[in-house]
């Protein structure tokens, strides 16, 4: 990885706690779900950063907090030199056009009563003062860009398949020529052969438009395919961050090791030969995370210290960060 790369986005000590209230009328706030707990990482201009982890690890919350769809409990999100967390709403709106999101569910994320044309031009209505014919032209260009027939502008979402809908979502995200696109599980609801179409499209668009992606997913093999670097999260914390090959070939955190060994390999011989690390038990509830290291309830290496002290998140090799006492 090139060290002189420009940092586009910095996430610093980000925390997002959701209060849990008790009582039907009193709404006493008794506890907090620590959805994101002290997460820091940088995103370089033009790269794809993969964000992986299991259900409830906080990966989607991180993505949404970056866009300021959630206001963080504490911490900073510095986008192109500007701290978004302290920005007034009007300035934030201007910044938002440079950051867009592609959602997981192509069925729920498109308004069924709007035509494809009006869905894609909605961001143009809000953020630009293009006239009608300019907008129309732009929408047609965008449809072509994502590999859809430009004559489809007047159709409704239900007339499209899942893969095509996801392309519409991508066209909408690209309407304002953003710098950063957050992809929140963009392929997990699609069939295998369609997944590859969408991933190829995302890669092509990145090459052509110089986009930066944060790619959130739980399908590790696809994330590894598309990412330059990967962040592994568990129960609201970053366990490990490294280059894609480094994290795959030389994982240092026991959780990453188990996760990587659980990736299905589409090759019977290799699949039989490899050693699988099977973790015991389930992910603890984020309402009640364990004392010390978050992973201690399932960790095969856990020692006394893991139950007392939260391991420091540190750089053990250049560009390789781990939070484990024994890495």
């Amino acid at each position: 990885m090139n060290m002189e790369k420009k940092v586009l986005l910095q996430v610093k000590n980000l925390k997002k706690y959701f209060p849990v209230s008790k009582g039907l009328f009193t709404n006493r706030q008794v506890r907090f779900v620590k959805a994101v707990d002290n997460v820091s990482f940088d995103v370089y201009d033009g790269e794809t950063l993969g964000l992986v982890g299991e259900t409830g690890c906080g990966k989607t919350t991180v993505a949404r907090t970056i866009l300021q769809l959630y206001h963080p409990t504490s911490g900073q999100i510095i986008f192109d030199g500007v701290d978004l967390t302290s920005l007034p709403e009007s300035d934030l709106r201007k910044m938002r056009r440079r950051m867009q999101m592609i959602f997981q569910d192509p069925y729920a994320s498109l308004n069924p009563r709007m035509t494809v044309g009006s869905i894609i031009s909605a961001p143009l209505d809000v953020h630009t003062d293009l006239n009608r014919s300019e907008k129309q032209e732009k929408v047609q260009d965008l449809l072509k860009l994502v590999g859809l027939n430009p004559d489809f502008v007047n159709r409704y979402p239900h007339e499209f398949s899942g893969g095509q809908r996801q392309r519409i979502g991508i066209a909408r995200a690209l309407a304002l020529s953003p710098d950063l696109v957050l992809c929140d599980e963009p392929i997990s609801s699609l069939d295998v052969s369609i997944q590859a179409q969408v991933v190829n499209l995302l890669e092509e668009l990145q090459d052509r438009l110089g986009l930066t992606y944060i790619f959130v997913a739980h399908d590790l093999s696809m994330v590894r395919h598309i990412s330059d670097r990967m962040v592994v999260m568990y129960l609201g914390k970053v366990m490990e961050l490294a280059d894609r090959n480094e994290i795959y070939l030389n994982p240092r955190h026991p959780y990453t090791k188990a996760l990587m060994s659980a990736v299905p390999i589409p090759n019977p011989r290799k699949a039989r030969d490899r050693q699988r690390i099977i973790l015991q038990g389930d992910i603890p509830s984020p309402l009640n995370p364990p004392q010390g290291c978050n992973f201690n309830t399932r960790c095969p290496l856990a020692q006394d210290i893991c139950f007392k002290e939260d391991p420091e998140y540190r750089e053990i090799e250049p560009n390789h960060f781990v939070a484990c006492h024994f890495a």
Partner: protein
């Protein structure tokens, strides 16, 4: 050795307002005793409907098992009376469904739901059934099984619910376990636990397993044979190594190509299959894969290819041009 189950020309349709949906179109294969069979395909390829047809869980109408035989232990399941079929279901053939959240009844305890099958099929009394259920919960790796017996499904995590479903399926020691995408709703580390569990139980109990999935990665390490389905037909079938190493059908090649491999170089493009699967209401008259196939020729549009023997024993493919495609040196 005589196969445990033989399916001949199974055909299932659904009559809907939009026309007749040809979900399963005359598939035939056999399943051996103690075999793990993977059934692979994308959504709408008929893999689940074919399993539900075996279990006779298709709702009639709108569904209809239009033709075929399912010979299981010398009987044609499709000809059994409803009463006889009930004693097969859950007893000789058991099924684990995709969604562990919705396939358990939320108002009964997990223990009750598992012991129900034992009381019904094994003539146990309540106490015997409870003891056996606790044994089963232990077997599938649920900690503190005795305490957990009285828990309701919402007190279980997703992985534990799927384990409970497996315990329920295994309760009557079935000869065949049909697992319909049992790990799709689960996280990877939990998925690995469940796969390991099923392989271990299969070896201990010697039953046959049919594992239905869309993920060619999962089946690679656990099954003996694979049926690849597309638009209601089996388009390739064979032993697992042959399917992966000497792929014959262009669709299977496409499916494998669309998965990222572990040792790929950075910047490698995935091979995607263009287009969409055909509409099952209006199936093309020729090969169902015609519209998306890169090797298609005139003949493929007119005549539907049938499964024929490929290179290795037990490996068959439904493609007119598989010999030529092999010679071209692709795959």
């Amino acid at each position: 050795m005589k196969p445990l189950m033989e399916i001949k020309n199974l055909t299932t349709r659904f009559h809907t307002q939009d026309g007749t949906v040809n979900a399963v179109n005359g598939i035939s294969y056999s399943l051996d005793q103690g075999e793990i069979l993977g059934v692979v395909g994308e959504s709408g390829c008929g893999k689940s409907v074919h399993a539900l047809s075996i279990m006779r869980l298709i709702q009639i109408p709108p569904g209809e098992i239009a033709a075929g035989e399912v010979i299981f232990d010398d009987r044609d399941l499709l000809k059994l009376s409803d009463k006889d079929m009930r004693s097969v279901r859950g007893h000789e053939i058991a099924m684990v469904f995709q969604d562990p959240m919705s396939s358990l009844n939320p108002v009964y305890t997990v223990g009750f739901q598992i012991s129900e099958a034992l009381i019904l099929h094994k003539n146990m009394n309540k106490r015997q059934a409870k003891e056996r259920t606790i044994e089963l919960l232990n077997l599938v790796g649920i900690p503190e099984a005795r305490k957990r017996f009285d828990n309701f499904p919402h007190q279980f995590s997703g992985g534990m619910r799927q384990r409970a479903m497996i315990a329920m399926a295994l309760s009557c020691e079935p000869k065949l376990l049909i697992a319909d995408e049992p790990t799709t709703a689960l996280d990877v580390t939990i998925q690995a636990q469940i796969i390991n569990l099923v392989i271990k139980l299969q070896q201990e109990l010697g039953m046959s397993v049919m594992w239905i999935t869309h993920d060619l990665g999962i089946v690679a390490e656990m099954v003996h044979r694979i049926n690849v389905m597309y638009a209601g037909s089996i388009i390739e079938r064979g032993f697992v190594d042959d399917i992966y190493n000497h792929t014959l059908h262009p669709y299977t090649m496409g499916l494998l190509g669309s998965l990222p491999s572990i040792d790929e170089a950075p910047g490698t493009k995935l091979i995607s299959i263009p287009g969409l699967p055909p509409d099952l209401v209006d199936l093309p008259s020729g090969c169902p894969f015609f519209a998306r196939c890169t090797y298609r020729e005139e003949r493929c549009a007119k005549e539907q290819p049938v499964l024929e023997n490929g290179l290795e024993e037990g490996h068959s493919v439904a493609c007119w041009r598989w010999r030529e495609i092999q010679k071209m040196g692709v795959s």
